[in-house]
């Protein structure tokens, strides 16, 4: 069953002024429950606008967005409830921290939902666990944390609302390789355990290749492709035309294939690639012997 369905949505900034700029044009897609969808596109392709439309921060000028089969703008007064169901983590979310303690900051969303104390407490602890915030950090000021911890605390603040759909806009930007790996693992883990729908916007093809089931490719405000990760990355040429590329390992495998090696050119991670190359080498050495 589809959890989010977008029908011909369009959005224009600065409508009616000289600075008018079309950010989205006639985009339609369906996202199924429990999917992990990657959204990629060059800078200014409309990714950020798209995700803000999905949780009701922006209102589409044309078209409709359905959440669990209901038009999210059916009752504009109730748009807050949509925002609780579609949790949105913005770029550099650590700049939104404001409370005295990490605990209170994570509890800000659930508090706004009007939940009772025990439920809030349960959610804060479970969100902190998912994002790897140690118990003893909960009583610290968020401004005392390290960069990576701040980022995870901010993400915990959104997860604590227990949204049906979690949207992350460039969650790994500006983190060191270890912080990046940890965060991606946490997201993957969250997705597996809660079996929620997750949308991940990223510029890193490697990140997307590693965890996404399907990929939505945006280009100049339009949907370019929406297909399984393997299928999208097998169309390297088309991706390169819109300023993107395939993961490095996929590119290497494609080149090896063209050079006549017997490898799978749709490999997405380095580990898979290693296995493919090793088995191909084994084959060739057997032939020689």
């Amino acid at each position: 069953m589809s959890v989010i369905r977008a029908e011909n949505i369009g959005f224009t900034y600065g409508n009616g002024t000289s600075l008018e700029k079309t950010a989205l044009d006639d985009v339609s897609f369906e996202i199924n429950e429990g999917e992990l969808v990657g959204i990629i596109g060059h800078t200014g392709s409309g990714k950020s606008t798209l995700v803000q439309l999905l949780n009701g921060l922006l209102r589409p000028m044309v078209g409709k967005i359905y959440l669990n089969g209901r038009n999210i703008w059916e009752k504009p007064k109730k748009i807050r409830e949509i925002r609780f169901k579609v949790g949105m983590v913005f770029q550099y979310p650590e700049y939104q921290l404001f409370e005295e303690t990490v605990y209170k900051d994570i509890a800000f969303g659930p508090n706004n939902m009007g939940l009772d104390k025990e439920e809030i407490d349960r959610r804060v602890h479970s969100a902190a666990e998912f994002t790897g915030i140690a118990e003893n950090l909960l009583e610290c000021s968020p401004f005392e944390l390290s960069g990576g911890e701040k980022r995870r605390a901010a993400i915990a603040g959104v997860i604590a609302m227990d949204p049906d759909v979690l949207i992350l806009d460039e969650p790994t930007a500006g983190l060191d390789p270890l912080g990046r790996d940890t965060l991606l693992c946490r997201i993957e883990n969250y997705h597996k355990i809660r079996n929620n729908t997750v949308l991940l916007v990223s510029h890193s093809m490697e990140d997307i290749a590693r965890i996404a089931d399907r990929i939505l490719v945006m280009s100049h405000g339009k949907k370019l492709m929406f297909d399984t990760t393997k299928n999208v990355f097998s169309k390297g040429r088309e991706l390169e035309k819109s300023g993107l590329r395939v993961p490095q390992i996929t590119k290497i495998m494609q080149i090896l294939k063209n050079e006549g090696f017997d490898v799978d050119p749709t490999v997405l991670t380095v580990d898979q690639g290693l296995n493919e190359i090793l088995s191909a080498l084994r084959h060739t050495s057997e032939k020689i012997l």
Binding site: N55, L57, R80, F90, Y95, N112
Partner: protein, 270 residues
């Protein structure tokens, strides 16, 4: 949304007024304002008003934009107009209890209304035709004699320039933080004033923190480029007085002379 607020009022055009030196514009504007207030009768007021309107037309910016600048002080204009209308002395034309309208009152009301409107519109010429950086540079140069009494003129000007430069940046960031908090269900559009002010706290604290961080970064970046205050600092764009400025000064002084003359020749009405 926040980003819709127009910032600074500078309207880039190619006109003589735009090309004038900022210092000359600031000083002449001050004098024009003084002379608008020095007018004692309708003849001199008409003269300086016509002069102001000619300047306004010379800027090549639509007259409607100048009229819109009056919107901000519309209430003040109406209020002073009405007060003056009822406070004239002489034979009453119309009376209701203590309120009476006289010819003197009507005269005063028209005079004051014209005076304030022209004053406001001619002030807009300065902000519309001078970029904020030129304006602060001009102010710095005009105030430089104050250095003798240890006023930190350069520092004040630098603070103004930096403040102006960072307004758009901060606005954009406010927008982002507001969206992030809205996504966590903070409600800034509904509820009474008290609740709305409380809803601003989650926006103001992150903004305060990031402003300090930004200020620290900026100070570091400036020091890395060897900034150490105004001493011995030269400019990329040195201000020059041109022929245009000279002509502007001469014409303005002729008009000021005319105002003094007309004030003396015709009887004062105010």
């Amino acid at each position: 949304m926040v980003r819709d607020i127009t910032l600074g009022q500078y309207v880039p055009e190619k006109s003589l007024i735009h090309r004038m030196d900022a210092r000359v514009k600031i000083l002449l504007l001050l004098m024009v304002l003084v002379f608008i207030f020095a007018c004692r009768n309708f003849v001199s007021l008409t003269a300086i008003s016509l002069f102001s309107i000619i300047i306004i037309l010379m800027t090549k910016i639509s007259f409607i934009k100048y009229l819109k600048s009056l919107k901000a002080i519309f209430v003040i204009i109406i209020f002073t107009g009405i007060i003056n209308l009822f406070s004239g002395s002489g034979d009453s034309l119309w009376q209701w209890q203590f309120l009476k309208i006289t010819w003197g009152g009507i005269n005063n009301a028209i005079f004051i209304t014209v005076r304030i409107s022209v004053m406001m519109m001619v002030s807009s010429v300065l902000t519309y035709t001078t970029s904020p950086t030129d304006l602060t540079d001009g102010l710095e140069r005009i105030m430089s004699p104050l250095k003798l009494i240890h006023v930190k003129v350069h520092e004040i000007a630098m603070i103004m320039t930096i403040a102006l430069r960072f307004i758009p940046v901060l606005l954009e960031e406010t927008d982002k933080v507001m969206n992030a908090q809205k996504a966590r269900g903070s409600d800034m559009e509904n509820g009474n004033v008290f609740r709305r002010v409380r809803a601003l706290v989650p926006v103001l604290i992150p903004m305060l923190v990031s402003s300090f961080r930004r200020a620290g970064d900026l100070a570091m970046a400036m020091e890395c480029r060897c900034y150490n205050g105004g001493k011995g600092r030269t400019r990329m764009k040195v201000m020059h007085l041109s022929l245009t400025d000279l002509i502007a000064v001469i014409v303005s002084f002729l008009i000021f002379g005319a105002v003094i003359y007309l004030n003396a020749v015709y009887p004062a009405v105010i």
